[in-house]
Amino acid sequence: MIALALLVVLGGLATLAGLAPRPYRVQLVASLLVLVEILAAALSVHVLASDHALLGHESGLLPFSGVRVDLSPLGALFTLSTAVVALAATIHWLGYRRHAMSSASASSAFALFVTTLLLVPAAGDIVTFLVLWEVMALTSLVLVAHDHAQRDEARQAAWWYGAMTQGGAALITLGLVVLGAHAKNPGFSAIAASAHHLPGAARGAIFLALVAGFAAKAGLVPAHVWLPRAHAEAPAPASALLSGAMVNLGIYGIVLTRTLLGVGPAWWWLVAGFFGVISALYGSLYAATSTDLKRLLAYSTSDNMGLVVIGLSASGLFSAAHHPIASSLALVATLFLLTAHALYKSTLFLGAGSVQYATHERNLDQLGGLARTMPVTTVTVVIGGLAVAALPPLNGFSAEWLLVQSLVHGLTGADPVTTVATAIFVAALALTGGLTIVAFVKAIGVGFFGRARSEPAQHAREVPVSMRLAPAITAGACVIFGVAPGLALRAVERASAVVTANRSGLGASISGFHLGALRGAVDPLALALGAVVATVLVAGLRRGLGLKGGAKVRRFEPWGSGRIVTSARMQYTATSFAEPLQRVFDDVLAPQHDLDVSHAIESRYYVERVAYASANDDVVERRLYRPVLALATWWGMRARGIANGSVHRYLAYGFVVLVIAVVVVS
């Protein structure tokens, strides 16, 4: 508890330090924040190692019930992964401040945002939770709106984010308050003990409200619309935290919902799983067709959260079908995927921030050739991208493997509904995996390899040390937990046991998993070692053979169908790379094309000018949100008619409403 209090004090100091004069401001805030993060990491490691929740109650600090702390191993896992991501983001910020995010408001908001992110999983009652949740939302809103003075997009992003996050918070508050009122106690443990006395329909309604509210934070479709805007517009350290830590807390909320309400009937998880599948497919499809690097990453976040929700739903379904081992296995896989996502997505967002720092460019069609000018950044982004694509031996692979295993084992003696749902989950997982590979080969291949497509990309210089170090930390963690997933397994198992109350029976050597009583094992370390040894041997062979042809590698102009290739514009762009996929999924994406051909006056067989524009905006936003917004605007305009500024009229309105109210009440 003392450590936690120290953490809060240091976080507060860091927030205040944001007001320090400019030359020292960022350094001061960052060094205090590093202390906060290390402290939080140590605290959560302690909780995970001892396998005992950290409990505490301080009445009087907040209204109603005071502050209640309940940092379970589950919460500690979230705090730990947040601490690692925040550490990398803070280090990155030290260099990034020369580009953006050095103002007093941004520094304070960043410090407070990090502190609340670390503390949310430690909240032990409704009031503490909601207060922290709101401070987290507001400080992140400040960061999203950071560029509001320069960019209209940033203003738009802040509006969307603010509206979605407050809408979600309203649903969460509603659900939690109803639960707390029923239990007559705001403490989470008291709620969990009493929630099963609620009637089934009420529990179902509360489940839906809470999951919808938390899904808005996690960026699930159709509540994802803020994600591509906010993640893209926020400064890099902030977007790394949004995607690597804050969306995770949305998932934490869903897990919390399960601990509060119990597993419940299967339909809960079929509904959640439906939205998980939709998010995974929709997010990966848009990631595969986006050309803006940060929007691509944001859509990929939506896709990964969809996969996580698929895992949670599978766990719930199996639990409802009385298959506890598969259920805990699915939950372990989900939490593993979540921590993996925190690591690789923050790597990628920090890398994207470095690219933006060096080139002032986010559009993949304007990048290229960075592998030669920014080698370290490129390597970290390649590791992050291959980890998202779930390729071995990186941590994304271990996570997806575990998830597929839990689905395979959940099929044992399953009822028809669960069987079909599980098969659909696997199919969604696979299609998402394939699309994610397209998305990240595109992002890496077009953005970092090939020839530079623009002047700034041509003259990009490698970023300062701190900005190289930060993504290297998280990328290194991706590799370590990829080749030796067993290192993380015990912590993840303890976290999941908080929810499922039984262990998955999953065993681990240092290098791999074996599924205990169930049959199945994987050994990424051996695979990696085998492949590395083989690579070295083949490289030696090639070198040996090369001696006969002349050891020197000859460089040449690549083939341009008989002409000399001189222009980088002849390369495939991100748009053209995704074109086949866009055509295959034409019905879903409904891209808008605009072809304008003007003919010469002399003859219409001669074309004078061709203008082509294509837009691939978010179809959910266009078809779902725009009509609602238009309706709201229309309603607002109509309402102006009755508000003409006359005070007498307003008094009359008040009187009429009062009379109606009195009549209704009596």
Binding site: H409, G450, A521, G530
Partner: protein, 315 residues
């Protein structure tokens, strides 16, 4: 992992390395004969590789480290799988953790690195090949993983060795509807993964119609030799896995020298038969338009999904 299993792994590796190009040659010869040409000898791919290996290495002007690295990764991942997969024997090294999904993803690493290298060349063709290959790869994936799920149903395990061993021990598994449907889907997957007709025409030389040839257009010399070798190894691995899932007979169930020799002969024969069958099919079929492919791959996916559902219902 003991010495015996290491030796069997090495035997499988040698079989795949030597046999892969021969399989490619065999399929070409059969095709040429059926088309009324004499065609090159079966050993032609090996001769090509030997010739290329002695040339000077080249690379495009503005390429980076991924371009020379990709052929190495391609061959190394294929070699790793060749050691671990149940091709000639059920006792390769690390048999407890030879997972089907892991095998697929290790092979995928090779494809991804080749696609990245293609984009690294900075030409239109590289991008075109990478884009098309990965689009197909993305659409193949659901069929592939759901087929694996269907194959894993009898044992509730995706351990590849266990699946093959179960088939070799109980022939009834092999004719189960779930198994057959999954293998039907697997045929589509393999044709797509190894770039055969009707997905891609391996003998085309018109840039605009090709997928795989465009992907590797800039490779030449020893690098092209490695790419050819790696691709033929992958072909042999996919075919080897398929024939062992269809008819695992003859595969060595213990690490005796005679059993392994028999297993090598059996798998070589079965793969050669499969190669001839695919060549026959290729002669009689035309390449599908790129945008008709999703229908074929969706068909494969539906087969696999039916396999899962029938398998789960019949239990």
């Amino acid at each position: 992992m003991n010495l015996a299993s290491l030796l069997t792994g090495a035997t499988q590796l040698a079989l795949v390395v030597l046999g892969g190009p021969l399989l490619l040659g065999l399929m070409r010869t059969v095709r040429s004969r059926l088309e009324g040409r004499d065609g090159p000898p079966v050993s032609q791919p090996w001769r090509d590789i030997a010739k290329l290996a002695h040339k000077q290495r080249t690379r495009p002007n503005e390429s980076s480290w991924i371009f020379p690295a990709a052929p190495l990764v391609l061959v190394a991942t294929a070699a790793t799988v060749a050691v671990l997969a149940p091709l000639a024997t059920l006792t390769p090294p690390l048999s407890a953790s030879t997972d089907f999904i892991a095998v697929i993803f290790v092979l995928l690493v090779g494809s991804v690195s080749l696609a990245l290298a293609a984009l690294d060349t900075g030409t239109a063709f590289g991008g075109m090949g990478a884009s098309r290959a990965l689009t197909i790869g993305a659409l193949v994936e659901p069929a592939l993983l759901v087929a694996v799920l269907a194959l894993s149903l009898p044992l509730h395990s995706t351990n590849l060795i266990a699946i093959v061993a179960e088939g070799s021990a109980h022939a009834s598994v092999l004719v189960g509807p779930s198994h057959l449907l999954a293998l039907g889907s697997f045929v589509v997957v393999i044709l797509a993964e190894s770039g055969r007709l009707p997905v891609d025409n391996p003998s085309t030389h018109l840039e605009l119609t090709m997928i795989y040839e465009a992907l590797i257009l800039e490779y030449s010399g020893p690098d092209l030799a490695l790419v050819t070798l790696g691709e033929s190894m992958r072909l042999a691995i996919w075919f080897g896995l398929f024939v062992n899932l269809v008819a695992p007979w003859g595969i060595a169930t213990h690490a005796g020298a005679l059993a392994i020799l028999l297993g090598v002969l059996a798998v070589a024969l079965k793969v050669a038969l499969a190669g001839v069958a695919v060549a026959l099919f290729e002669v009689t079929t035309a390449k599908l338009r790129l945008f008709r492919l999703p229908e074929l791959l969706a068909g494969g996916f539906i087969l696999a999904l039916l396999g899962v559902v029938t398998g789960a219902v019949m239990r």
